[in-house]
Structure formats: structure tokens, C-alpha cells
Amino acid sequence: MKIVVCIKQVPDTNEVRLDPKTGTLIRDGVPSIINPDDKSGLEAALLLKDQHGAHVTVLTMGPQQADLALREALAMGADEAILLTDRAFAGADTWATSLTLAKALDELDYDLIITGRQAIDGDTAQVGPELAEHLQIPHVSYAKDIKKEEGNLIVKRMFEDGYHLIRVKMPCLVTALSDMNTPRYMNVKGIYDAYREKTVKTMTFDDLKIEREALGLKGSPTKVKRSFTKGAKTAGKLYKDLDEKEAARVIVEKMKEKFII
């Protein structure tokens, strides 16, 4: 079985802070990690490899620095790594990103594609299903478990109030939830191999069969009109002399304002 896992290197958004003076994001010094849902997707692929044997390729689209995420994936046990990088891909929204990945996957061999459900920097959950659509293969999203049964996969597909157990034929795409497993650690030999024995292959625009205008910012139906911060978090307001009714009213008003209720 050939599995391709699509991963994204993301800033650890838990570490992103706002500059209290300017209200802008401080990105310097924020560590980059493999997106958590993607990392669990990779672990799911490695578990399938452990149980049934598989060739696991990790694919990422991003800048040169994303090499680090691919090396980590290799050290965890992936067999092959591909960095999809080109200025032509820059500024892509989910539509153009998924199209770029689809064109790269057209050049690869796969039975199963695993992506994370969503990335913590964008939270859209769109690239997986859009990628499957471009490739014209079925997808199952929100997976909490993936099992192989002959030529089929049995996927536990989560909903808010339960799950569907789904049988799907390969080739297909599955989007993984971070709570489906605990990703393994890299071991020393894995790290050694990732840097000394294994290589990261690079694919650029020239390797894809597509016109330039369909990709990157130009190929993106959506555009960012403006971005802004909600302002730095200031020390909250302390109410000392309210009776319980007034206090309750103040809390509920704030909750309404914040769309909590």
C-alpha cells in the first residue's frame, strides 16, 4: 500500500503573542511545528505501515524552512519526503493550495492520502476535501480511527453527537483528528537516518502539469481584503461592589457581546 501524508509546518499558535503597544502579531521566535492534526495523520499512516506494510511519503507545500518538518517526519519513520516549493505557489488560498497539491499527487502513486483535518494557523478544514475533489476520489473527514480491511478502509468518522463507521474503497483521502492517536517520538537512529540516509526531494512549478495563472495568489478565488488584530489583551475589569443580580447581569451582557451565548 502506498500512503501519502500531506503535512503543514505551522507556527505554534499557542506561542503567538500580541505586541501590547502596536497590537500586531509577534512572529519572531515562535517555534514551528508539524500541524497537530497532520502529525496524528502521519502516525496513523505509520501504524498502518507497522500492521500491514506500506510505503509512506510525506508531502508538504511551503518555503525551504519546511524541510525541518519533513526531516522530523522522516525521523518518525516516513520513507520518503517531498517539499513542494516555488514562488508561483505563494499567496494561495485553500482552493489554489489544494489544486497545487493535487497536481503534485498526479505525479505520485498512492492508494491512500491522509491530511490533517485542519491547520492551527488557519483552522479552515478545507484543503483535505478540496484536494479529494480535485483528484476526483472519495474522502472521509474527521477520522478518529483508520483500519485496513483488504482493499477497503474502515474509518470512524466523528460528528458532534457520535460517529459513523464508514467503509471506503481505495484510492481515497482521509482527514485525521489529532486525538486519534499519540504520535511517536523520533528516535536517535531515526534522526540520524533522516539527515544522513534519507533525502528530501524538491518539486517545483516546472514539475507540475498546470498553467501558472491557476496557482498561488492569481489562482485563488478568495483574497484577503484586510487583516487586523482585536487588540492586545488588557487586564480585565474588576467589579467589587455589585450585588449578585447586578454581577450576573454584567457577566451575561459580556457573554452576549462575545457570542458565547
Binding site: W95, D123, Q126, D161, C172, V224, K225, E244, I261
Partner: protein, 336 residues
């Protein structure tokens, strides 16, 4: 831009043949957008023998497009995509809205991919640009640290998903007639690209505090086990669950699996209500990333107030029941 595209469509989500609240909320927003554009609101309902179809009109729809077929009873990606794509192609709506749910976030990208248009996820605000009529879709990114306003200038329809609870339902107008048009689309066996082997509902399963959107958390200041029952009531009212500080676990009031903090779990719910928690550093480390923090404590020097968005200095046994009452009132108002 292609002027042939007109109208605001809302995908109506059903579960167990019941129309979901998020869809009624979206109809409220769609009504407002359509009024600004001087266009119509269409509710697109896909399923089988769905209950109370007429209420979609009362909540703002001018027209209901209803694909009623046994093959559509349970949500499946491809059959639903086929129906919705055909409706988009036939009706040419200018805007299509979906709930940002486990269904909406699966279906909408598949449709956007197929009709080649943009899709903006988890919008918190939708407005019409008065200059050119474009939809301006605002959404959070970077874990809520950044907001971005997204447009889709050259493709139609403009598509967006919105989380449950963000938009407001309108006051239902029961006198509004429901115009229902049936949609006839045959679902072939080959459209079922996967097979559902089992449907499992597990609402009763105890939720992990790390997955809850709302946590009502109690500490030593809660005083006794009985008072924790009040926190349960409050949590229920807010659609959340109860967690606790280490102190309350050490005393034996609460089990270890609901402990928040360095030695417990790290949580970042949308709302964290800290009750009788002083706010030791190890506790703050486990919850300070919560989006909105309310702290109630009788000691005004408690460090928890430094981390809180709102702090109330007061007696828990009085404030909590008052808060429960106030929430019930707010809910009754909203559902009117």
C-alpha cells in the same frame, strides 16, 4: 462579475430529520444580507421526511428547495455534494451559507472545489460592501489572535461557513407562507462513494474537559461538594461541563481527570468561569489561553483576577444562582 447570480442560499442541516438550530441562525443572517441586496432567501433542505419544514419560512426563507429522498436520510458526502452542486448550477445564487459543523465543513469545500469558487471558513461577521455588493467575510486566524476580512471578487457564488451560535435567529413570523419547491435529483448507487456500516450516537459519553467549549471550574472557595452541584447547573445552562483546581481534587471534591493546571490538563475553552479559585501560577498555566475568562472570588486580591476578562468580587453561593437565573432569562429572550 456575472450578474446572472442572484439570491442568498442557506444549506439547511438536518440531524435525525430535525432542522438544526445553526441553520435557523443562518437564515436570520441571510435575511439581512438579502434585504440589503434586495434579493431573495432560499432555504436548501436535503434529507428525508424532515419535520417542521414550514418553519424555515417563518425564520426568513422566501423559498424552500426540498430534496426529499430516502437516499439522503443520512448525511453522505457525495450524494449531498451532487444535490447542492446541481442546485448551485441551476439557481445561480450569489451567496451560499453553511453551518461550520462536522457536516458543513465536509460538504462546503467539496462543493466549492467542484464549482470552482472561494469558500471562507468559520466567519464571525458577514456584511455587504455597499460600493460593489460583494460579501465581506470576517474570520479569526492564528488561534483567534488575528482577524481577516476575506472577499471573493471574481467567482460566484460567494460561499462561507459560520459556527453555531454566532448569528442571531430572527423572531419567527408564523404568518409567512412557506413556498416549497421539490428538487428531483436521482441518487445512483454509484454516487455512494462510501458505505455507512454503523451509526452511533454517543452524547451521553462523558466529555473530556479539553474538548469542552465552556468550562465552569471550581476551587477550594466553592466550600463543599453540594456547592459543586450548583456549578453543574451553571455549566449545563452554558452548554459546558465542570472542571476544577488542584485544591478541589486534593480535598476529594472532584476527580483527577477534570483537574486544570500544570499537573492536570491544559485547556483553552471559549469560556472559562473560575469559581472560588485563587489562581496559583500552576493553575493559570493550564487555563490562561482560554478565550474569555470570568472569575468569581470573595478575595479581591486573588491572582485569578489578573488573568480574568471580568472579575466579580462576591459570594459564590449568591452570584452563581443569580447568574443561572439571568442566563435562563437571556435564553428565553433569544428563543422568543
Amino acid at each position: 462579475m456575472d450578474k446572472a447570480y442572484k439570491g442568498v442560499h442557506v444549506f439547511i442541516e438536518q440531524n435525525d430529520r430535525k432542522i438544526q438550530n445553526v441553520s435557523l441562525e443562518l437564515l436570520g443572517k441571510a435575511r439581512e444580507l438579502a434585504d440589503t441586496l434586495q434579493q431573495q432567501v432560499t432555504a436548501v433542505l436535503v434529507g428525508y421526511e424532515i419535520e417542521e419544514v414550514e418553519k424555515l419560512a417563518a425564520y426568513g426563507a422566501d423559498k424552500i428547495l426540498y430534496a426529499n429522498d430516502e437516499a439522503l436520510d443520512l448525511y453522505m458526502t457525495e450524494p449531498y455534494t451532487k444535490v447542492l452542486t446541481q442546485i448551485v448550477n441551476d439557481e445561480k445564487p450569489e451567496i451560499v451559507l453553511f453551518g461550520a459543523t462536522a457536516i458543513g465543513r465536509d460538504l462546503a469545500p467539496r462543493i466549492a472545489g467542484r464549482v470552482h469558487t472561494g469558500l471562507t471558513a468559520d466567519c464571525t461577521s458577514l456584511e455587504i460592501n455597499e460600493e460593489n455588493g460583494d460579501l465581506m467575510m470576517t474570520r479569526p486566524a492564528f488561534g483567534g489572535n488575528l482577524m481577516a476580512t476575506i472577499i471573493c471578487p471574481d467567482h460566484r457564488p460567494q460561499m462561507a461557513t459560520v459556527r453555531p451560535g454566532v448569528m442571531q435567529k430572527i423572531k419567527p413570523d408564523e404568518s409567512k407562507p412557506a413556498v416549497i419547491e421539490s428538487v428531483n435529483i436521482t441518487i445512483e448507487e454509484s454516487d455512494k462513494t462510501y458505505e455507512i456500516l454503523e451509526v452511533v450516537k454517543e452524547v451521553s459519553e462523558k466529555m473530556d474537559i479539553q474538548e469542552a467549549h465552556v468550562l465552569v471550574s471550581g476551587g477550594r472557595g466553592v466550600g463543599c461538594t453540594e456547592n459543586f452541584e450548583q456549578l453543574e447547573v451553571l455549566a449545563h445552562e452554558l452548554g459546558g461541563i465542570v472542571s476544577s483546581s488542584r485544591a478541589a481534587v486534593d480535598i476529594g471534591w472532584m476527580p483527577k481527570e477534570v483537574q486544570v493546571g500544570q499537573t492536570g490538563k491544559t485547556v483553552r475553552p471559549d469560556l472559562y468561569v473560575a469559581c472560588g479559585i485563587s489562581g496559583a501560577i500552576q493553575h493559570l498555566a493550564g487555563m490562561e489561553e482560554s478565550k474569555f475568562i470570568v472569575a468569581i472570588n470573595k478575595d479581591e486580591t486573588a491572582p485569578i483576577f489578573e488573568a480574568a476578562d471580568i472579575g466579580i468580587v462576591g459570594d459564590l453561593t449568591k452570584v452563581i444562582p443569580a447568574l443561572i437565573e439571568e442566563l435562563k432569562l437571556a435564553k428565553a429572550e433569544k428563543n422568543q
